[in-house]
Symmetry: C2
Subunit: 141 residues, 2 copies
Amino acid sequence: MDVRRAAGLSRRLRDGGLRATGPRTEVLGALEDLGGHRTADEVYDLLSTRGRRIPRSSVYNVLASLVGAGLALTADAGPGAVLYEVAGEWHHHFVCKVCHRVTDVPCAAGKPCLTPSGDIGVVDEAQVIFRGTCADCLTHS
Amino acid sequence: MDVRRAAGLSRRLRDGGLRATGPRTEVLGALEDLGGHRTADEVYDLLSTRGRRIPRSSVYNVLASLVGAGLALTADAGPGAVLYEVAGEWHHHFVCKVCHRVTDVPCAAGKPCLTPSGDIGVVDEAQVIFRGTCADCLTHS
DNA sequence: CCGTTTATTGGAACCAGTCCAGAAAAGCGG
DNA sequence: CCGCTTTTCTGGACTGGTTCCAATAAACGG
């Protein structure tokens, strides 16, 4: 990984209140390179093909701290492996019932939106999951 | 289980297009008795304490057919075990980040609502997950 | 450079869920 | 009520995803 890239990643980690360790820069970099919604194993596999041997459990550890620091998000997409993505513009997800692919859906508010009525507690975010059949799967059937 | 109850459950199963078998009436009854959002294992445990030995895989099978028939729903609540609930009024969920309890949030529309903009495919439903801290956890901290 | 604090490693263990093939039950026509 | 066909159930093995833990190593403030 080139030096500028690593420095940028390190700074983001520190800005998030995390120590800038090797595994953390590598995992964050890999998640960013992959783009979109990825499982811990996909990150693990990319690092492996790059020759970086790292235990799976470390990938899980790191992803958990990235989420804790707000640098990554888990995408709610239903059962199965948890999907992670680099934190960016707030958005929602469309999950295709056929191919299970997850597509971003821009959020009108651009930030956590919608508040439930009633005295339920403090709501930090509202995420919407749209379920249906994607355009691709509609044409291929 | 009393006879009237069993008959009612059987009828609901048949109305849903399913054969009214023992495991299905028992699982549907147990899910209803438990109320709220429950994992397959919670249903399994209730049946066990009732002295009904049934394989866990049967509970999974049955829950899957109940969902397929529209008699039960899976509640989107993030990672972890899938939560099932008896189908009723369409609603959303508030998930407490502290105690992980799931609370129903009435849906203003009373049915699958919200449509994403853009040509994304066919949207069947839109489920909202509110995340935050529930009233109980706020006071106890 | 040292010490303290925090993170990583690697492997074992765990839990949720799926798969499969034989056995049983449901519902049909007669 | 009987037997036939189809659907469902069973039980156990198995997988994938994730967490746990105790020893080791690395980060960073002084």
